[in-house]
């Protein structure tokens, strides 16, 4: 049995027939072909698959594709506008907030929501809000600096 889904991802609308058990992250990677969203664990600890679904940061490995029917989704590929990096992306580059780059898309998408909640976050707030995203390379030091940089250089609305 397959079910129809219609989702808007980075401003473009996609229609597919999918198995009800298909995870949203696999839908995005395999059917839509956007491979920037990564899978790092099976148990929703690592946050590498974090995307924005209707404005909320969610772990796409914890959502079925059919649950995203009608949703408006932003993935890492949709964050830069007209070739201009989003301030969070720029912050990660400026402050060396990544090494292997695998956790980075999820980190950036989680940071997006973080800065919506706390436009001027304290270091403690940043560290607490990143609790659901794991990085094995940076020891988090420069990820914190990257988000602080982004907070100091907000996007032009």
């Amino acid at each position: 049995m397959k079910l129809p889904v219609t989702v808007t991802i980075n401003g473009q609308t996609y229609k597919h027939e999918v198995e009800p058990r298909l995870l949203l992250v696999h839908y995005i990677r395999e059917m839509v072909g956007l491979t920037g969203t990564h899978v790092g664990c099976d148990t929703s600890q690592c946050g590498a698959c974090t995307i924005l679904m209707n404005g909320q940061a969610v772990k796409a490995c914890n959502v079925f594709a059919v649950q995203a029917d009608g949703a408006n989704i932003t993935t890492i590929e949709g964050l830069a506008k007209n070739g201009d990096l989003h301030p969070i992306q720029q912050g990660f580059w400026e402050k060396h907030g990544l090494q292997c780059g695998f956790c980075t898309p999820g980190m950036i998408m989680a940071s997006y929501q973080l800065l919506e909640r706390f436009p001027h976050p304290s270091e403690d707030q940043i560290r607490h809000q990143l609790e659901g995203n794991l990085c094995r390379c940076t020891g988090y030091h420069n990820i914190v600096k990257a988000i602080q940089w982004a907070a100091e250089h907000p996007a032009q609305k």
Partner: protein
Amino acid sequence: MATTTERLFGKAIKRREDPRFITGRGQYVDDVKLPGMTYAAFVRSPHAHARLRRIDATGAKATPGVIAVYSGQDVQVGGLPCGWMLPEIKVPVRPAFASGKVRYVGEPVAVVIGESAYAARDGAEAVNVDYEPLPAVTDAKRAREKGAAQLFDEIPNNQSFYWTIGDKAATENAFKGAATVVQQPLLNQRLIPNAMEPRACVASFSPGTGDLTLWVTSQNPHVHRLLMAAFVLGIPETKMRVIAPDVGGGFGSKIFVYNEEVIACWVSKTLARPVKWTADRRESFMNDAHGRDHVTEAALAFDGNGIVTGLRVSTHANLGAYLSTFAPLIPSFLYGPLLSGVYKLPSIFCEVWGMLTNTAPVDAYRGAGRPEATFLLERLMDRAARQLGQDPAEVRRRNLIPKFTGGTPYQTPVAFAYDSGDYEPALNRALEMSGYAAVRKEQEVARRNHRYIGVGVTTYIEACGPAPSAVAGSLGAGAGLWESGAVRVHPTGAVTVFTGSHSHGQGHETTFAQLAADELGIPMEQVEIVHGDTALIPFGMGSYGSRSACVGGSAIVRSVEKVKEKGRKIAAHLLEASEKDLDYADGKWTVKGAPDKAKTWGEVALMAYLAHNIPQGMEPGLEATTFYDPSNFTFPFGAHVAVVDVDVDTGAVKLLKYVAVDDVGKVINPMIVDGMVHGGIAQGVGQALWEHGVYGPDGQLLTGTMMDYAMPKADQLPNYETDRTVTPSPVNPIGVKGAGETGTIASTPTVVNAVLDALSPFGVTHIDMPLTAEKIWKAVAAARK
């Protein structure tokens, strides 16, 4: 040497690889999608030790979307090789699929190939395997005991090797004459690497040409190709191409040849279709090579003046069920020779039992042997300080090897000859940055108010870029330890650098471009770095042991020198000047005393390819290849200080401050070095406080997911304060030492010692790692009774 107005060597240049990663356009193995691709799912043993009686694939074959099912009877390939031999070592056969018996939980038993990953998974769940469970042994020491479960009939007492280093008699004498002996049984617990990208591979066999292409999460694609082609698949290397594209961290775990990629290659050839396998995290926990797992008895002897005179070490190293690619090397030559640390230690004796158990194979994990040695030595130094009633920093200072930077190495009693060292300034700087004296005063005051602050100090040595090849060979290496670097100058003067090193987070595309552009005096934009593809790069030993800069970088610099040398001849010819009358700076040759007579790098490169006017007898073209084999390891060192606050009512540890002063020789890009130090510290803190790969007595992996295995998180760690002293290495042409593992090596004992320092008012002298809240609370509760 180029004297550009602004040197690129030493500059914190933003990474050139980042734009693709921050926009989601990296290309990792799991992102590879080929026409006609099939997907593999593995059936794995749920038992730690069992006879494999029957595999029934009927249900799997009837599952929709399943193409084929294969097990050990079908797959005709050689066993997975072990690449390092020790004297009288016993190496068990490690088949790609379990054969006859399974020996650890997660060992592959069969593979199901499906039209989709989901179909393959459905099929794997429908495979019925009949096992006859056997008793298991998971502890290295118990594996040697009488009556312990036996993994292999041909390996009595599960002992793969017994290895020693040092002078036993001299060490015994030191202990006989000692004024103070400090001893401590130590557990260096098993760790599970957990690079954020799970291992993956895509194998694609072309029936038309007979060529096999393997995309694989590898730290060393050429080593992968060599071992797989020569030992496992039995095909010429010329018919195999290994590509390690963007790789999401390795930390050692992606050095080795594993079952899954071998089987994927065989299946691709059999089905004549591409095969993809991507580990889920549970599979990574079960089948990626683990790290550490030592049980050790150790003792230090001191004379009456607090001078250390001897070290005695006896270690049982858990190797897991089979010998992974470099498993025997880690608890032997990367462990024993590090035991002198930064100390003048006249006698050392170390013996190691390498034991097979019903657990996942153990191999190199960030630091690999060196953290085990450093933890041991630094725990003992701290216990000594307490036993001698002295300040831990002063006990260390008194025993430091004096400065040696004149080119004469320092010979330890355990084989290593350190390249250069000046240890005290790093210690002084770390103490200064941490406000050591003030923190000690604060500690006094706090204790009176029942608040328990602790300070840990570590001075450490690290050994990077294992070398030279001839010595490694005599010690059992199945590989050379050089690196290749090829430099191809294009007619425009743009340069492509082909390196055998592999970057999986280290930023080689930036640092190597800095190196090459700096030597040539041309903009970085004109230099491209190529790595990770056996079809493009002459050969390569890959990245591990913090060798990329000191070995791989040196190979590149040598090749740049060679193309410059040829370029100088062409320039001299064009300028009608003598070579020795030319200066090279800012990308051009000028005639001494006549600065308007000049030829630019681009003009010379073009002429090398036009060949209209080059010296007689010279070949056209401009490129060079170097296989650089260093004469020795390099030996970074440093001092770390941690300050912790321990809540003795809950056992919770808060890291208040972490100071790292490292000496990694000359630094190509300080931003990148700092980043590696940060990450290393976090991994070492993880071992000190949280991480532990635990097997139950029946051999079940109890920490098989990220819910059970405690990965360090952002809200558990502080900002790190880093600084450096700079003692160039005389070993290589660029004076670098290596920076990838120092943080991990130093931070584990630093934090453990800090916590135990906090608990000293309770008389707690030791707690085995990880120092979880529960263990700390129990130790304090027991002490209060």
